[in-house]
Amino acid sequence: MAELAYAAPLRTDGKEPNFLQKFGHAVAHGDIFTKLSFFIWGLGYIGHGQLIKAVLVTLVQGLGLYYLGVAGIPNLMKFGTLGTVQMEMVFNPATLKNEVNDYDNSFAILLLSVIAIVVILALLASAMAVVTSNYQLQRIRQAGRKTNTFGQDIRVYLNEKFYVTLLTLPVLGVVIFTIVPLFILIAVAFTNYDQQHMPPNALFTWVGLTNFFTLFGGGQSLSLTFGYAFGKVLIWTLVWAFFATFTTFFGGVFLAMFINDKRTKLPKLWRTLFIITIAVPQFVTLLLVRNFFSDNGIFNTMMANLGVTGLLRDAGLIGANMEYIPFLTNASWAQVMIILINIWVGVPYQMLIATGVLMNIPGDMLEAARIDGANPVQMFFAIKLPYLLSVQGPALVTDFVKNINNFNVIYLLTQDVYVTTDQAMAASSAKEVDLLVTWLFRLTQEQYNYKMAAVIGIMVFIICAVFTVVCFRFINKKEATFS
């Protein structure tokens, strides 16, 4: 049966009862060991002759219960209020130490409660699985067959259930370092965790949807500017993501075609020249470029010496009394520069990918087109581009999402350099060049406004999720019609 289930494709095993049904069946028909195994996992396995397994699962269960007992449950009980006892410290001159009361740390309560909830869910699911598996053992024994020895079990995990062995550790890592933090931050969006409510000295508590109202401009006057800043930052984020994705993509494609063309000599050398820029760590080049284009930096000196600054001033592109070109300090200039610099950063990488993809275009397709007398431009639009898009489509979508979350480029280029001239944005410490992620990062690092940062983070997630779903729907539909 196991083999069958393994070989069968995902969707077709609808006949099989689901997890809950199986569990119910096991509880209803299980013997005493099977039933008891829900509470003490090992009992079932002892009863069914699998001693080593019994010890192992009981150990796991014990650890889980230990956590719940020591930290999980006590904190869960305070989860509703996130703590009530404020920290108080008194210096004791006799011991030279501070005496601290048994205070509540809201963040610790939140964190440990989230973990406790995850543990409880995991324990429950495991207990159900243990019962079901014990029922199966019971059935095997009732049928008069032998149950697996421990060694046999191990072999199963290297074979039919190899994926369990493969996935356990990575899934654990993701749960601890991604899922739990995400849950915590989603929770923070519904609290008043900010500079005035910072643990361990102060407590924070639940405030419901207040922060979301603040973001969308409900209530006080300041919230208006928060909503305003959010709108502006969001628009720039989307504009940026669009340009950053498509300029580097097409830039890479054209550069790759240019270099790979038969008429280009020494393609390898050219490619290497561009690739060198990938090898220098991004933060080094970005910080360097930031100084390169600074108001009184080397590039401005060169432009002034060449008379370009004066030319631009006469053309009205920079202010009348400007001695320099405000590459990274004026909103419009900075936005254009950031996109240009991102082309510089991203194109070599995209070129590498495009080079590989273009090589994979079936030669006969191109040959046929050439015989039909297609010129290079026609060939590009009729064959290469559709091929690239069909292959790279999903990658473009993920790139777009990555660019929405592209922290490094914006932060490194504008931090400490760019000062906003939009006073309404300044009031919520946003800048015209900020992406939602850099804004939320600065909100946490400079204003300690974790609640709003969390709200913005959730917004970013919603935007990315909607975009991804829509795009993949579209791509899948396209692909269906393609074939």
């Binding site: 796991v60 889980g64 005496e99 495991s126 699985a129 000295n201 300090t329 006073q423």
Partner: protein, 427 residues
């Protein structure tokens, strides 16, 4: 069989979580109970004379690291009969101290140096230990202004370390005469004649304050200790904004960040700058005997000369209340800011002392930067502004420097700036 997949997955998950849960519970138990448990047990059995094993971390500016090491070693040597002390020195500039500490006060250094403008936020976050050992001595041996800067609501929260963290004017006297240096107009005229520039970071809340405060307007902390009160939009705020625009549009004036001012001094384009001691050393090296420093100049407001004000700046040493050895940490902070060490700080790093005796010494008084700061101190205010002050003020400066008012009148500009500055923090 498939149930066993979920079993294994869930079990593994539970295992890991339990494992980390164990660790967590231990550490939380520690944080909540150690202080009380340890202190009660020690209170009964031990006197303060025996410190036992003490490990402290001390943060100071990158440039101070060697000097701090020496001071720390001297402190260890002096107290070696009392306990086994280990001191680690970490780098964290005074300007960034708040950012590094507030992220997680419990993980921050036991003793740290910071600029006095961060005091209110640090106190509000409970990241500063009230000075409870030797406080009267600290108060009496330091300049009144510095003690005031280290206090809030009458309580002393930090140990004054230097009194030179403000800004003043320094110039190349081969270009600008002392009379020219009295007024912004004079400086600009002289600089223009020499084809050089007068630099100041106008798009920064710290510096732009000087214009508005000079005109008698205020920006200060509200009674709640978190928000900012500001009346820059009252008379003559709009005219001050216009005056700044007029100055900024002068071709001899450059609004540049610190780093650019330094390179400008070094390559000879800058002949006068409003900045602090940290850049004065460069100017002193470059201009040699022509280096001169004085109070800030006056600027023209509605045809009259108005003296520029400034933020008086002090560097302080604070103690982290979350330190496991708060008492020893306080003694260390006390030690590194005592008279001898302030003297040393002046000798090694040219830092202006806040200690009354050291400050009164002839060599300190004759240092141009310190004399200039002393002259400016009549016009300097204690730096007490809330977190929402900085971005709107910087934005106002940026607009005035760029000369592009976005179609707003100067009155609207200051109105908008004040709206941002006075907005309640973290709403």
């Amino acid at each position: 069989m498939k149930k066993q997949l979920s079993l294994a997955m869930a079990a593994a998950m539970a295992l890991s979580l339990a494992a980390c849960g164990g660790g967590q519970s231990e550490s939380t138990a520690q944080t909540t109970s150690t202080d009380t448990a340890a202190s009660t047990s020690e209170a009964t059995s031990e006197a303060a004379a025996d410190w036992g094993d003490v490990t402290l971390t001390m943060w100071g500016a990158e440039e101070d690291q060697t000097m701090l090491r020496e001071m720390a070693d001297a402190f260890i040597e002096e107290n070696k009969d009392k306990g086994n002390i280990t001191i680690n020195i970490g780098a964290c500039s005074e300007a960034d101290a708040k950012d590094n500490i507030l992220t997680d006060p419990t993980a921050a250094a036991d003793v740290f140096a910071f600029a006095d403008d961060q005091l209110n936020e640090l106190v509000a976050a409970g990241a500063l230990q009230e000075v409870s050992l030797n406080a009267d001595d600290v108060k009496s041996r330091n300049l009144e202004g510095s003690v005031e800067a280290a206090s809030m609501d009458g309580k002393l929260y930090a140990y004054p370390m230097t009194a030179d963290n403000g800004y003043f004017l320094y110039y190349d006297s081969s270009v600008i005469s002392p009379e020219d240096a009295q007024t912004v107009d004079g400086i600009l005229a002289a600089a223009a004649a020499a084809g050089r520039t007068f630099d100041m970071t106008v798009n920064d809340g710290w510096y732009i304050y000087s214009f508005f405060a000079g005109a008698g307007l205020q920006a200060t902390l509200a009674d709640d200790g978190v928000n900012t009160v500001c009346n820059w939009n009252e008379e003559p705020g709009a005219d001050v904004a216009q005056a700044i625009m007029d100055i900024a549009s002068n071709s001899a004036f450059v609004s540049a960040p610190d780093a650019d001012i330094v390179s400008g001094i070094q390559n000879g384009t800058v002949c006068a700058a409003v900045s602090g001691t940290w850049n004065a050393n460069v100017a002193q090296e470059k201009w040699g005997d022509n280096y001169a420093a004085t109070k800030l100049p006056t600027y023209t407001l509605n045809g009259e000369q108005v003296q520029m004000s400034s933020f008086a700046g002090y560097k302080l040493v604070g103690v982290n209340p979350h330190s496991a050895n708060v008492g020893v940490a306080m003694m260390l902070a006390d030690y590194i800011t005592n008279e001898a060490n302030q003297q040393k700080r002046f000798e090694v790093r040219n830092l202006g002392p806040s200690n009354i005796n050291v400050n009164a010494s002839e060599e300190v008084q004759s240092a141009p930067a310190i004399a200039a700061l002393a002259a400016q101190s009549d016009y300097a205010d204690l730096q007490r502004v809330g977190a929402n002050y900085w971005d709107p003020a910087a934005s106002l400066g940026q607009i005035l420097v760029s000369g592009d008012t976005q179609g707003k009148t100067t009155q609207q500009l200051v109105d908008d700036a004040v709206a941002g500055i006075t907005a309640p923090v973290a709403q």
